[in-house]
């Protein structure tokens, strides 16, 4: 192929121009295809999520499955969330102390820690942890059912597979997420107390008075309830990728990995929007 125009020949220069135009068109073509593919994917995911909302209000209500998933997602995620919360509380307390000591404001450590945990660190960290543990599981489980014809078997048994597999998981995770977030918040505050008592010997009563003295319902309720949306996003991403799995076990692995990545991305992006909405309804108070 001709790639250089150094010979100075007019014919050669034209060839260089044509070649570079073709390469440019190829790049535009590939970019366009990727963008269209992305739009198609987002559209399909949004349709899937929208359908889940509609189907959630239509009978039959699969209570048995919802409770089973609630146990799987909620109860069985609790040890991970509580352990992570404790560790985060200890670490945050140490960092906060290091910063506030400079200004002689050690008394504010419990309040600062509690506000940070309840408003943002608790919900987001719980969301990311659950995305890793539960999102991957949803993608892998539904994906495996798809490639082993179990989804077809459900349909052949006159069961709406979408409702039975996806909607039940979405509802269960929407219920489990705020509960897990509360666990993380309180585990974190308790972890902060353990760190604080080790350094300053602060009493339990004083620590919790200071921690909750500055917390209002407008800190706790919107921040906790935004994780209902996190639960929805994680479960929709996992279910969608599970239902669209192909290529056997390789596809199942890919669905699992992509569920974690997409679930995490969605909750981080969703958090930005949700915080903006929360600030609109509950403007941050200064001073």
């Amino acid at each position: 192929m001709f790639v250089s125009g150094q010979c100075g020949n007019c014919y050669c220069s034209r060839l260089v121009i044509i070649t570079s135009r073709i390469q440019l068109l190829s790049v535009v073509d590939r970019t366009g295809t990727s963008v269209l593919g992305l739009f198609e994917f987002v559209g399909a995911l949004a349709t899937f999520g929208g359908r889940a909302v509609v189907e959630a209000f239509r009978p039959p209500y699969e209570w048995r499955e919802i409770i089973r998933h609630l146990y799987q997602f909620g109860y069985r995620s609790a040890p991970l969330v509580v352990t992570a919360g404790l560790a985060i509380g200890v670490v945050l307390s140490m960092h906060t102390r290091a910063s506030l000591e400079r200004f002689g404001a050690e008394a504010m450590i419990p309040a600062g820690l509690a506000i940070a945990l309840i408003r943002e660190t608790g919900p987001l960290t719980a969301g990311l942890l659950v995305s890793g543990r539960v999102g991957a599981g949803i993608g892998a489980e539904i994906g495996a059912m798809k490639v082993t014809e179990q989804i077809d078997a459900l349909e052949a048994n006159a069961v709406d597979a979408f409702k039975y597999l996806a909607v039940t998981r979405i509802i269960a995770l929407m219920i489990a997420m705020p509960l897990l977030t509360l666990m993380m918040d309180f585990a974190g505050i308790f972890g902060g107390y353990l760190a604080e008592v080790a350094v300053s010997g602060m009493s339990w009563q004083l620590y919790f008075e200071r921690a909750f003295g500055y917390i209002t319902y407008s800190d706790l309720i919107p921040a906790t309830f935004k994780t209902v949306v996190f639960g929805y996003l994680i479960a929709v991403a996992g279910s969608y990728l599970g239902f669209t799995t192909s290529r056997g076990t390789e596809g199942v692995g890919e669905a699992s990995t992509r569920s974690v990545v997409m679930g995490s991305m969605l909750i981080i992006l969703g958090d930005v929007i949700l915080v903006k909405i929360i600030f609109f309804f509950y403007p941050p108070v200064s001073g």
């Binding site: 489980e141 495996a144 059912m145 082993t148 014809e149 179990q150 077809d152 078997a153 459900l154 349909e155 052949a156 048994n157 006159a158 069961v159 709406d160």
Partner: protein
């Protein structure tokens, strides 16, 4: 045969996946209470045809009637009502691996009957006993062999005593003795009045189970008739098939 006499009727059914034409204007009547065996090489569209009958795949053209009802026009609960009259034995059994074998068999009863749990359990036990798995009620599907999975799948497919049983490659991947056991179970099912639609490329097995046969080749129904008619066919592919002794 009038539409009412046919358990299943395919009327000029066509299906294409991308550029690949899988079914090309296939018309077929399957009489009630008979065993129809659909023969053909791998990848000729047999399983796709079977999936059309239970509405897992929608045709691009044509209609599918099940006991007189056009299922291509049905959705949701109406389609579910038709599906309840049918059982489907998948090629790999497709047992729900999060449930025990007993719960797999009980699943259709739990979903579609208002029976007490005791009765469901007892019926599931009977269905498993009918396929020789009465001791395996509490086992998980992962603990079963291929043949046992297929028998458990058959028990689940028969859980609601369907009038039509669809069977996809019943002897695929099984040893000859287990395959013969499955064939015997299918013959017993047929004797109870159930219409069977069996997709297979195992001719010896089809000879045991079938009353009526069809050969699908490159998406078209190449031949249709009794065993004798197919044995006497001039069509080279049909001849090659009917002479074959292998399968599985």
């Amino acid at each position: 045969m009038t539409p009412d006499e046919a358990a299943v009727r395919l009327d000029h059914v066509s299906k294409q996946f991308g550029a690949l034409k899988v079914l090309d204007d296939v018309s077929l009547d399957i009489p009630k209470g008979k065993a129809f065996c659909l023969l053909g090489r791998s990848g000729t569209g047999k399983s796709v045809l079977l999936r059309h009958i239970i509405g897992l795949v929608q045709p691009d053209g044509g209609k599918v009637f099940v006991e007189g009802r056009d299922i291509t026009a049905l959705k949701g609960r109406e389609l579910g009502d038709v599906r309840k009259q049918m059982g489907f034995l998948f090629q790999n059994a497709a047992l729900f691996d999060s449930m025990s074998v007993g719960d797999n068999v009980a699943f259709p009863m739990r979903r579609h009957t208002d029976w007490a749990d005791g009765k469901i359990r007892e019926t599931a036990q009977q269905k498993l006993a009918a396929v020789g798995l009465e001791k395996d009620f509490d086992k998980m599907p992962g603990d079963l062999s291929g043949g046992m999975k297929k028998r458990a799948g058959l028990a689940r497919a028969m859980a609601l005593d369907p009038s039509i049983l669809l069977v996809d490659e019943p002897s695929a991947g099984l040893d000859p003795i287990t395959a013969a056991e499955i064939d015997e179970l299918l013959v017993e099912t047929k004797r109870s009045g159930t219409t069977l639609v069996v997709v297979t490329h195992n001719i010896p097995s089809a000879r045991i189970v079938g009353d009526d046969f069809g050969v699908l080749h490159e998406g078209r129904l190449l031949a249709r008739g009794t065993l004798e008619a197919l044995d006497a066919s001039d069509e080279p592919i049909v001849q090659a098939f009917m002479r074959s002794q292998g399968g599985g």
